[in-house]
């Protein structure tokens, strides 16, 4: 079942003197529950594409459909609500809220959804236990290693049961051991919860483990399987 589709998406950055054609005629179809890696050399347009799929930016031309409804024409407020309910994000630099503990970071997304405090706490704790990171509950980001922070970030991304989790180079700042632990976690969540994962990487180890690979070069999809 299709969850996400792009139609002739182009992105041209025009803020500099020379316009950069970062994405060229991207046509993509992603089904529910897929586990997709977007690969390609640096500058090939991976971040740009993920930003568009994550509704953080708008294409210069073309349309992007989520469950058959076009979101390129939606307002900021609608998109914010959409991201809150349907999307989860994992960032390369983890980007947890530095003043909140791991548990609070996970609760935060639920707070934004208006989940009552008691339920929030319980769900966050359960999820941490499920991911095997319950020992980190009361640690602040600066008291955790990168690998630990990124696993908390996964918990934050999935706690509201999103349809899609988008991750831009989630392992780039991790060593290979922590990187593969993270991939295990993402795969597990993909299989158990049927959450669609779309992540970018230029790391061989990561790419090899993807079930579907989209290869970008100079803003074009050069191969797909």
């Amino acid at each position: 079942m299709e969850i996400l589709r792009t139609e002739n998406v182009n992105k041209i950055y025009e803020d500099n003197k020379v316009p950069v054609h970062a994405l060229k005629n991207i046509n993509l179809k992603i089904n529910k529950g897929e586990y997709v890696a977007i690969a390609g050399p640096s500058g090939s347009g991976k971040t740009t594409l993920l930003n568009l799929l994550g509704t953080l930016d708008k294409p210069t031309s073309g349309k992007i459909y989520f469950e058959n409804s076009d979101f390129t024409s939606k307002s900021r407020k609608e998109l914010s609500e959409f991201r809150l309910r349907k999307l989860g994000f994992i960032f390369q630099a983890y980007n947890l809220i530095p003043v909140l503990t791991a548990l609070e970071n996970i609760e935060f997304s639920m707070m934004l959804l208006g989940v009552p405090e008691k339920e929030r706490r319980e769900r966050a704790k359960n999820l941490m236990a499920e991911l095997g990171i319950d020992g980190l509950a009361n640690k602040r980001p600066n008291e955790m290693s990168g690998g630990q922070q990124q696993r908390v970030a996964v918990a934050r991304a999935i706690v509201n049961n999103p349809r899609i989790v988008l991750a831009d180079e989630p392992t780039a700042n991790l060593d290979s051991e922590n990187g593969s632990k993270l991939l295990d976690l993402m795969e597990k969540m993909n299989e158990e919860k049927n959450i669609t994962f779309i992540f970018s990487s230029h790391d061989k180890q990561v790419i090899e483990r993807a079930r579907r690979l989209i290869l970008l070069k100079d803003g074009r999809i050069v191969s797909e399987n």
């Binding site: 971040t47 953080l56 809150l84 994000f89 960032f91 003043v99 935060f108 707070m111």
Partner: protein, 404 residues
Amino acid sequence: MLVKLAWRNIWRNKRRSLIVTGSVVVGVVALIFIDGLNNGFLSQMLFNQVNLNISHIQIHKKGFNDNKVIQSFIPDKAKVERILAHNKKIVHFSERVIAFGLVSSAISSSGVYILGINPDDEAKITTISKSIIKGEYFSGKQREIVIGNKLAEKLKVGLGGKVIVLSNRPDGSIGSEVFRVTGIFKSPNSEFNKAYIFVPIKTLQNMLGLGNKIHEFAIITTDYKVTEDVKNEIRNQLDESYEVLSYRDILPLLIMQMELYKETIYIINLIIGLALLFGIINSMLMAVFERINEIGVLMAIGMKNGKIFTMILLESLFIGLLGTALGLITGIGLTELISIHGIDFSLFAESLENWGIGAVIYPKLTLENLIAMLFMIPFITISGAVYPALKAIKLEPVYAISYV
């Protein structure tokens, strides 16, 4: 949770938050202190006048206050005495004869107000008896006179010195008498020390041929706050031939000045408030710019503008509340502490004494101003965060996330 987040965010940059909180504290303390000082200044000015001579309420024959002619006697002295004796809110009252005349020594002479008083009664009404710096207040002899230090200097007389007092009698002839200086007073009001002399009421009545007629009753009530009430009560018991005046009626300029001051304090508040406002805007802008990346992440994970806006306002509000609380404590503490001994302005004593204040000023707090501050400062800190918060929510998520 938003509250928790905002509170913790403040302490991320401890130094900046403390500096901003500190500037709020300084602002609040300054406001409290300036107000306390001015308020002390004005009420000292008022109460010095009241205590020195005016008293709370005066009764005259109608028109006497504006035109102090010798013929304006109290129409029915006994009746007024009965009324005053029966009023429970009146603590003391005294009789006065007031004339304008000339006092001369062997060396020079000076125009003065001559107050004929009953020394024992007057001692309960005014502070002259306590302001004697040389000699004594009256001892009970007939031709004693108490004069101010400035006048003594001018006439070059000392204790026991002789002076002649001249004044018009009601029939137009001149009355005169020789007095011996028994006491020299020094009040905080240098003008008063130059222009007022005190003699026993009987002596003055004889000198001017007044019999037992008087010009004025001076009254002290239980509290200056009930003055207007007491004034109206007395007024209702007397007919149109009397005038009953409170110190507010007698010192209209001073009262006006106090009212004017209330407006001045608004302007001072405004200036300090504006300085605070810009300080807050500046620091909250910095707080936003330092966190562009994080704000982008918050936007990405679905935090709506309203919540981001509220979060930033809360941060500023907390700083404001903290600063206000500390400022109030410090300001009130400091003002109270200083008001025990007052601030010695001896350097400017000359000019202060011309205003009738005295060299030492005791700052005095007003509840009104404290309450105003309690609302004003947090309001300012919130207002100062509005622009930075707007800046924050106008950020584009992609731009913010990749901002380095």
